[in-house]
């Protein structure tokens, strides 16, 4: 039996760029940063933190999913995810509830993968505050389900009627790619007809921000000097909140339904270049090179046919250097390199899905946003307009603490 080809037919996104693919594309194309001083009214007073800048999602509302009751029961992670999933389903011309009559897919044939590092923290911190300041009786009865990692998974599956496999991936910054790869595997194996796959992150809470501060990964910045990553590489990371979800399905399934295919996922791989967590974050990058080879081999293409790279690009010196070394060892020519994180901040669990969404839009539109040269990182001259068309293959890389990494090859639909 030939394996099913995985198509992307829907994208829903709510990031510091705003809501929807047009807002995302416009923002990424402009190259202008969305990062800004943390809003003390909306989040917390950042004055005691070294890093006071983050990518923040503009106000949003969506009465179809964010009812008053839902707002009471959920964390910001779930709220953003519900909007992103709704938009992804709409783009893919799928119903808001797979249990409804006329749904083209049975609910048990729909699957969900969610990536997050810390879903529910905002809710959990409020619970801690209530418990310690006002006592046991003031705890919220939604404290458990609003404040735990599987919260978004549950809220999405219940609201949209997802009765197939559901899973949440929490592998730190690699979680996003892990969730997408699992989604692609579910389609390829035929375990579901539709997979909703993506990530969500709301790290702007006092404790979460303190955890990042303790990690020393955050750039100590009290105001924004732009552009952050581009002209000062490896300056430590800046992060943002947001959620992006994709609709994945077999190409034939999409064609049968008559929905446009934005792009296809032709290859993927996962691996680890382990390193000690204490002290240096140095990564050797050997396994990353193998992993990239594996994902290209799966798609049966050579490195010479890769057109664009989205690196993991966390702006952490050792990780960037290891990743650059792996890219250099594989690709012997300058390649357009796109780092949406310079514009949005690193969206953590939502980063990989956002990168893949932008890659899919680039393939669909046959345009690439402003880019850097992978082999001449310090040279800021954009080669965006000069990139060879058509763009056929985009390699999206992800990596996380401890040397976990993953690659996805996103390709133009045939």
């Amino acid at each position: 039996m030939t394996k099913r080809v995985v198509a992307i037919t829907g994208i829903g996104t709510l990031t510091p760029a705003g809501r929807g693919t047009e807002a995302l594309w416009t923002c990424i194309s402009s190259g202008q940063t969305c990062l800004g001083p943390i809003d003390p009214e909306k989040y917390f007073d950042p004055s005691r933190y070294a890093c006071q800048v983050a990518g923040q999602v503009p106000s949003f509302s969506e009465p179809r999913v964010l009812t008053e009751a839902m707002m009471v029961q959920t964390d910001r992670c779930s709220q953003m995810a519900l909007v992103a999933v709704l938009d992804a389903l709409e783009m893919a011309r799928l119903p808001m509830d797979f249990r409804s009559e006329g749904s083209p897919v049975a609910p048990e044939r729909v699957s969900l993968t969610v990536a997050t590092i810390a879903a529910g923290w905002g809710f959990l911190e409020r619970q801690m505050h209530n418990l310690w300041t006002k006592g046991v009786g003031t705890m919220d009865r939604y404290g458990l389900t609003g404040g735990f990692l599987a919260g978004p998974q549950g809220h999405i599956s219940i609201l949209f009627g997802v009765e197939g496999r559901t899973r949440t991936f929490v592998s730190e910054r690699a979680s996003g790619a892990h969730a997408l790869i699992e989604g692609a595997k579910v389609i390829q194996r035929g375990d579901a007809e539709i997979v909703i796959a993506g990530g969500t992150e709301a790290p702007l809470t006092p404790l979460a921000w303190a955890a990042y501060q303790a990690s020393t990964m955050l750039q100590p910045t009290s105001h924004l000097e732009e552009p952050v990553h581009a002209d000062r590489p490896h300056t430590e990371t800046l992060i943002g909140e947001g959620s992006t979800f994709l609709v994945l399905e077999g190409c034939e399934h999409a064609l049968r339904r008559g929905v446009p295919i934005l792009a296809e996922i032709h290859g993927w791989s996962r691996g680890t270049d382990p390193y000690p967590l204490e002290g240096s974050r140095k990564q050797p990058g050997r396994v990353l090179t193998q992993a990239i080879h594996a994902s290209l081999a799966q798609a049966d293409i050579q490195p010479t046919t890769v057109d664009v790279i989205f690196p993991a690009g966390p702006a952490l010196a050792e990780e960037d250097v290891a990743e650059e070394a792996a890219i250099r060892s594989m690709f012997d020519r300058p390649l357009p390199i796109v780092i949406p994180k310079t514009v949005l901040g690193h969206l953590q669990g939502a980063a990989a899905a956002t990168d893949v969404a932008i890659a899919a839009l680039a393939l669909d539109r046959q345009m690439i946003p402003p880019t850097q040269d992978a082999l001449l990182r310090s040279d800021l001259s954009s080669i965006s307009e000069c990139a060879d068309l058509p763009i056929r293959h985009v390699l999206v890389l992800s990596g996380g603490l401890g040397g976990t990494h993953a690659s996805l090859l996103v390709s133009k639909s045939e």
Binding site: R48, G143, G147, A150, T166, V170, L277, T404
Partner: protein, 429 residues
């Protein structure tokens, strides 16, 4: 088709921190449940503990294994230490030559925790806010706190320890994920993405906010606060909720030919896995119908190519809540038909409480050991049967067992159900 076998096991549990202690405790029907006021490892309950409606827990009593862990690991949250201790045991138990470099490229890790760090995070909050009385001061957060706060520290620490180059993943899908993570690792080997997978689950949720979040929604046992050992009573009329527990469990899973070629001892084979979502409610189940759990059981049985009559033992979720135990009984009957009444099932939680994601893993471990030991453990505290929970739950006393197939079930909040079919190893290798 690549086949997947279990060749190593490790455990940290309220009944003991070796496979032998764990098994002996289960077979002898010993309850590890105790009073919350007797908690030894967490002083955060000192001020607030008495205010909770539920006053019972299942604690890992002595954890001297922590002393044997490297310094940088010993500083981490309790759930990380549990995870490391159980995983190291499993690798040792499998007699794997970890110095063999070629192994590393084909070796992956899959871990799970529903709650992640409960104590280190709550202690950090209390420290940074003076127990909530002052504005949050990030300067008071410990330097390595990030490693406690993220939920994949066990997986990446293990990857580093064994120089693992394969996939290193952590999933967290509430209380079904102890079974889900075994299924995930099994599929990773079956699909050819790894030859060896170290799979594990770990929980140490005994901190006031996590405890209180369960307590406030009345899912914790309150009926036997003064007799803790009787508090966890799956399928019994007087059950009133689950007893929150802790611990870790790990399997070394291996592609079968690889295990045979290196002469490894095979405990059991994983032959089927099921995973479904009920998309109904974050915490409630519909007591009268259980189509989604039934579907998960059917998935695993269909993959394992077994009929209802082939199932000789069930280790159910059996959380000791009203809803779960009735719904689960109904689902088992729906799938197994009349044979449901012929199959013994025993509730591991009756002795060790509910250690969230780890609990399902404990169940899988108990079922695996049943093949090797020729015994199945009892369900304790089954004194007044709930007429809607009328299956043979092996009350009070362990029983001889010579079956070859076991079904393991776990369900979780957010509406997930995960199931496994385990098969006795065809032959001793």
């Amino acid at each position: 088709m690549r086949r997947v076998v279990i060749t190593g096991m490790g455990v940290v549990s309220p009944l003991g921190n070796t496979i032998d202690a764990f098994w002996h405790g289960l077979i002898s029907g010993r309850s590890a449940v105790k009073s919350l006021k007797d908690i030894t490892h967490c002083d955060l309950f000192a001020r607030l503990g008495a205010e909770f409606a539920s006053q019972v827990i299942a604690e890992v009593e002595q954890f001297e294994e922590a002393q044997q862990l490297p310094d940088h690991i010993r500083r981490r949250d309790r759930y990380v230490l549990f995870a490391m201790a159980a995983a190291l045991q499993a690798v040792r138990d499998a007699h794997l030559d970890v110095s063999f470099a070629a192994l590393r490229d084909h070796w992956g890790i899959a871990f799970t925790s529903a709650a992640g760090s409960a104590q280190a995070t709550e202690a950090a909050y209390c420290l940074a806010t003076q127990n909530g009385t002052e504005a949050f001061d990030p300067a008071k957060i410990p330097a390595e706190f990030y490693l406690d706060w993220i939920c994949n520290a066990p997986a990446i620490l293990l990857a580093q320890l064994f120089e693992v180059h394969g996939p290193c993943e952590t999933i967290s899908s509430a209380c079904a994920s102890g079974i889900d993570v075994i299924g995930y690792a099994y599929e990773t080997i079956r699909d050819g993405d790894a030859t060896i997978m170290l799979a594990g689950a770990s929980e140490a949720p005994l901190a006031p906010t996590r405890f209180g979040a369960c307590d406030i929604i009345h899912c914790l046992a309150t009926g036997f606060n003064d007799q803790p050992q009787r508090a966890s009573r799956p399928f019994d009329m007087k059950r009133s909720g689950f007893v929150i527990g802790e611990g870790a469990a790990a399997f070394l899973l291996e592609e079968r030919d690889h295990a045979i070629n290196r002469g490894a001892h095979i405990y059991a084979e994983i032959t089927g896995f099921g995973l479904t979502s009920n998309a109904t409610h974050m915490i409630s189940l519909k007591p009268t119908v259980a189509p989604h759990l039934a579907r998960a059981i059917k998935q695993a049985m269909s993959e394992a190519r077994v009929t209802p009559e082939d199932i000789h033992y069930i280790n159910p979720h059996a959380s000791s809540t009203n809803q779960n135990d009735q719904t689960e009984t109904r689902a088992i009957k729906e799938v197994l038909g009349k044979h449901a009444y012929e199959v013994p099932l025993s509730a591991t939680k009756s002795m060790m409480g509910h250690s969230l994601a780890t609990a399902g893993f404990f169940g899988a471990m108990a079922a695996t050991l049943s093949f090797a030991k020729g015994m199945i453990h009892p369900t304790i505290n089954y004194e007044e049967p709930d007429p809607l929970c009328d299956l043979d739950c092996v009350p009070h006393k362990a029983r001889q067992f010579n079956g070859t197939h076991a079904l393991v079930i776990a369900s979780g909040f957010s509406g997930t159900h995960a199931t496994l079919v385990l098969e006795k190893a065809e032959r001793e290798v």
